[in-house]
């Protein structure tokens, strides 16, 4: 085998596209069984080729060097005495991965030949240039579907709903804000009442100084303070002044703020 290989070793320097291309060339040239590659010989020839390239100052693509390393690695594994020759599962052929890759590559190399032959044949078919045919542009029927129409109706209603519901959410937020304001008004009133003085509604909630909303809220706060028993209310005359007196007979001493209903 060795002699046959060395005979074939006179490599002609072709422009190999990649390491597989070169390996294939060597395999075919030496008529090697791809399933049983003599790694020692192939590696030697492969490296010979690389050094020939070097001598000619050709650029050696990194892929060629990676393959050289792979071949040398396989070679070293083959040369190492098997530590556990009894265990069959461990005796995986180190060439296996390379063989699988080469077989895969070979498959496409063969297709490439089929394509080349077909290309050669069909390049003999000649086509004709198109005649000048004037374009007639016709406005075609509308392409519409009842289902799309229906879907659009549902979509637009959905959008409308979302928008409307968004408006109602905003309103709710505003009202919640007012509730906080009611709490603060109650707190304010309780502060005044602590001083134990009789309060005059029109003095606290002055129309000139405050907005209607604030006065209305103030009125609600007044009623709230009375409701939780912190004050007594009195209006001597209809539409007359409202007086607020601190309740001296409170039932308990708990913080009045906790009595305000938390909304």
């Amino acid at each position: 085998m060795k002699s046959a290989l060395t005979d074939a070793c006179t490599l002609k320097l072709e422009n190999f596209e990649g390491p597989f291309d070169l390996l294939f060339y060597l395999i075919e040239k030496n008529q090697i069984d791809i399933y049983d590659i003599p790694i020692l010989e192939i590696t030697e020839q492969y490296l010979d080729y690389l050094s020939a390239m070097q001598e000619l100052d050709l650029d050696i693509a990194s892929e060629f060097l990676v393959m050289a390393a792979t071949l040398l690695h396989i070679k070293s594994r083959l040369l190492l005495p098997n530590k556990e020759p009894q265990l069959e599962e461990d005796t995986v052929d180190p060439r296996e991965e390379l063989i699988i890759k080469l077989l895969e590559y070979k498959k496409y190399k063969e297709y490439a030949k089929i394509l080349a032959v077909r290309d050669e044949k069909w390049r003999g078919a000649h086509y004709k240039l198109p005649e000048a045919i004037p374009d007639i542009i016709t406005e075609n029927e509308l392409e519409v579907s009842p289902e799309t129409l229906r879907a659009c109706m549902i979509d637009v209603l959905q959008r409308y709903r979302d928008k409307m519901n968004d408006v109602s959410k905003k309103m709710k937020r505003i009202l919640n804000h007012e509730k906080v304001s009611l709490r603060s008004k109650v707190k304010e009133l309780l502060g005044f009442l602590k001083n134990g003085v009789k309060l005059c509604f029109s003095k606290i909630y002055n129309k000139r100084k405050m907005s209607r909303l604030e006065i209305a809220t103030g009125f609600l706060a007044t009623l709230e303070v009375v409701r939780i028993g912190q004050a007594l209310i009195d209006q001597p005359a209809a539409f007359g002044e409202i007086y607020l007196t601190p309740n001296k007979h409170k039932k308990n001493d708990t913080d009045p703020m906790t009595l305000i209903e938390d909304e």
């Binding site: 005649e131 004037p134 542009i137 509308l142 392409e143 519409v144 009842p146 229906r150 659009c152 409308y160």
Partner: protein, 183 residues
């Protein structure tokens, strides 16, 4: 190749590939006959094209030959140039059309309220395409125009009447909170 048939085959290929007229001399040269024989072959061939089921014919023009389609087939050939423009509706047009279709007759204001955007342009387009039309005026301040779908609308959607509009199921109609809840 030497038989008459083979020669004819070659000539057809030559003329097809050339597209332009090919001179008698050139044909004679390629098929390897003298001009006189070639002329006879060509004359026979013209006759053959004319009298068999061919879509193409052979013309002699000034001692040159050219293939072309038979003039009586022109109406078919012209159709190759027909570019059908398949037209669809824009999403905006579809949306507006659906509001008109399902709620007709409607005012522009109604459409705009639902869509939330100005719908002047899209309404105009739908009127231009004859999918909707004015059907009168609403009896409200300003007397706004009322729009409804047309017969063309029914035709393009393939409806025989408006009853064939795909129904909107109740559960598909999104709920709108009419009143703002005051809690």
């Amino acid at each position: 190749m030497s038989s008459i048939n083979d020669t004819e085959v070659i000539i057809e290929a030559l003329l097809f590939a050339s597209g332009d007229p090919v001179s008698l001399e050139r044909i004679a040269e390629i098929i390897g006959h003298d001009k006189k024989t070639t002329k006879v072959i060509m004359t026979n061939l013209i006759y053959k094209y004319q009298n068999t089921s061919r879509g193409i014919m052979l013309r002699e023009i000034d001692n040159a030959y050219q293939l072309c389609t038979k003039p009586e087939l022109d109406e078919y050939v012209q159709q190759l140039g027909t570019v059908r423009r398949k037209q669809g509706l824009t999403p905006q047009a579809y949306e507006t059309l659906s509001i008109v279709a399902y709620n007709q007759p409607v005012t522009r204001a109604y459409i705009e309220q639902i869509r939330g955007v100005n719908s002047d342009g899209v309404l105009l387009k739908l009127v231009e395409r004859n999918l909707i039309e004015e059907v009168g005026r609403d009896d409200t301040p300003g007397k706004p125009k009322l729009y409804a779908t047309t017969e063309e609308f029914l035709r393009v959607f393939g409806f025989s009447s408006l009853k064939e509009l795909p129904p909107l199921e109740m559960n598909e109609i999104p709920e709108v909170y009419e009143n703002v809840p005051l809690d």
